[in-house]
């Protein structure tokens, strides 16, 4: 069929779009575009290692030395402070990459590309899902790259612990990138970005247990740390990484996240992250659906 005939044939009856099918394909292609752009920008993967490296080497060494008696003795765990924050820094990398990645939606809006997606005959929740999965994939890869620093802080990785890290990292990345899409769906320009950084990302990071154990804190802070979704990602990361390196469970429980005095099992933590992610995503889809 020539294109002329095609146009003529479709004038008679408007092609009924298969919205659901098209939306699934849209999720795939939106995800693929993000991953492709990330891959094209490989140099960034290397340069973005600078921040976690600073935290591990400079901050970790500095604060570790300042802790009177040493982190291991203070907490009764025998761990160095650097070993303690290492999984936290992995989580930090996931947090920042996921939210930045998902917020590229705001760039897409500013540079016009979002319009191309918003006028397509697809359900706009596909945009939210595609962007969230795209951001999550980047964040997971970026987070796993941090594993190359393990020898630096004297943490042994095993095949099993690395395999376990993949799903845990991905679920954390998914929850956070969904949060990023939610924020981005309500932002018209990048001007509010500094606000997001100061009032969202930094608190999420500081309250997550990445840099200090979430035990023995004042009650106001205990509450905040427990509503921080990142807390439910840092603890499983630490259990997997340090557990794999031979740190006994009793020690991990001592450092771990508790709810109402009970240790929270990894599966529950992962489930909490999933619920956070899905709720953020639903809200984001609703935000994107609004037409003036």
């Amino acid at each position: 069929m020539t294109s002329g005939e095609h146009a003529a044939a479709s004038i008679a009856g408007v092609r009924r779009p298969r919205v659901f099918r098209a939306s699934l394909r849209a999720v795939y292609i939106i995800w693929y575009r993000d991953v492709l752009r990330y891959w094209r920008d490989r140099a960034r993967v290397i340069t973005s290692l600078a921040q976690p490296l600073l935290f591990l080497v400079v901050f970790g060494t500095g604060l570790g030395s300042a802790l009177r008696g040493g982190f291991g003795a203070n907490t009764g765990t025998g761990l160095s402070y650097q070993q303690y924050i290492y999984p936290g820094i992995l989580g930090m990398t996931v947090l920042f990459t996921a939210i930045f990645g998902a917020m590229s939606i705001v760039w897409d809006r500013e540079f016009g590309f979002l319009k191309e997606v918003l006028v397509a005959p697809i359900d706009r929740s596909a945009v939210a899902v595609g962007k969230s999965l795209g951001g999550a994939t980047q964040a997971m890869i970026q987070g796993l790259v941090i594993l190359v620093f393990a020898p630096l802080v004297d943490v042994k990785l095993t095949v099993l612990s690395v395999l376990e890290l993949v799903p845990v990292t991905f679920v954390l990345a998914f929850a956070l990138s969904s949060l990023g899409v939610l924020v981005a769906s309500h932002m018209k320009t990048m001007q509010g970005f500094q606000m997001v950084m100061n009032f969202l990302m930094m608190p999420l990071f500081f309250l997550s247990g990445a840099l200090f154990p979430l035990t023995g804190l004042p009650s106001w802070m205990t509450v905040l740390t427990r509503v921080d979704p990142v807390s439910y990602g840092i603890d499983p990361l630490r259990r997997v990484v340090l557990g794999g390196a031979g740190v006994p469970n009793a020690v991990l429980d001592k450092l771990g996240l508790t709810l109402f005095g009970h240790t929270v099992p990894i599966l529950v933590e992962v489930l909490v992250l999933l619920v956070f992610g899905v709720v953020f995503l639903l809200l984001a889809a609703r935000g994107l659906r609004v037409r003036e």
């Binding site: 479709s10 004038i11 098209a22 292609i29 752009r37 094209r40 016009g112 191309e116 006028v119």
Partner: protein, 331 residues
Amino acid sequence: MSEAASEAAILTEELAKSYGDLEAVKGIDLEVRAGEAFGFLGPNGAGKTTTINVLCTLLRPTSGRAMVAGLDVDEHPDRVRASIGLVFQDPSLDEQLTARENLEFHAFIYDVPASERKRRIAEVLEMVELADRAGSLVKTFSGGMRRRLEIARGVLHTPHVLFLDEPTLGLDPQTRRHIWAYLEELRKREGITMFMTTHYMDEAEFCDRIAIIDGGRIQAEGTPEELKALVGGDIVTASTGDDAIAAEEIRRIFGLEPIVDGGTVRVEVLDGAAFIPQLVRETSVPVTAVSFHRPSLDDVFIKLTGRAMRDEEADTKDRMRVMSRAWRSHR
């Protein structure tokens, strides 16, 4: 559905759109027939882009109705979206992707069947003469090439109606001519209905029919010839030793209504060629230069609204657009 609605590619009835207190579009009736190239003319801020955004389901009408391809835009936005193509006023390509990747992305979200995707992409790339640059990143493209790629993308999924919002804004005259040649070719080959906005009056000549919009209302509608007939004759423009005296004499001797504007005297006459010798003979002040032209759409606009199409504000805004495009292309 009424018969008119089923034949018309676009039909609006009392279509209005307000942003808070600001009435951008104040109740317009339009009918665009299938296969037609329809020009929507007006200065910036006249309501052109708002109208397009309502027709392409990006905005919801405040009141009134709009049908595109026989479908109500408010009731069936998904089906309307599937049957239209868009070339936006501002760039909307992903510069980090290649030309082909941009088209593949589009083919995917518009559900172009896998069997047709490759052939169709090759076809539209060929049409806008970008086949040899298909693998290049869009950030290496010039403004004209980007526009061509956006046009190719707009028709990739064989839409019924192609909306073009200022498709040549910010491009140099040669590239503008090129773009119009592509659009002409496209219309022949795809039999597509085109709805375009522009504020370059000369470009509107390309359209079968034109509506002139100003202040959110349609001021006139018809073929370019019909609209020009509203002016009623030739436009004679003269430079004289003293424009005020010349204008006064023209008014007195010929009973015409001249306009003194920017160092020239403009007057509308039935036959420009016959009028010029009389003008030179009868006026007491010297006529240093004189010319006449057939009425243009610019003249129509001046006649309808009492002012020229381009105002300073629009020019500033356009310059900013052009600058931001230039900046982006160097990004």
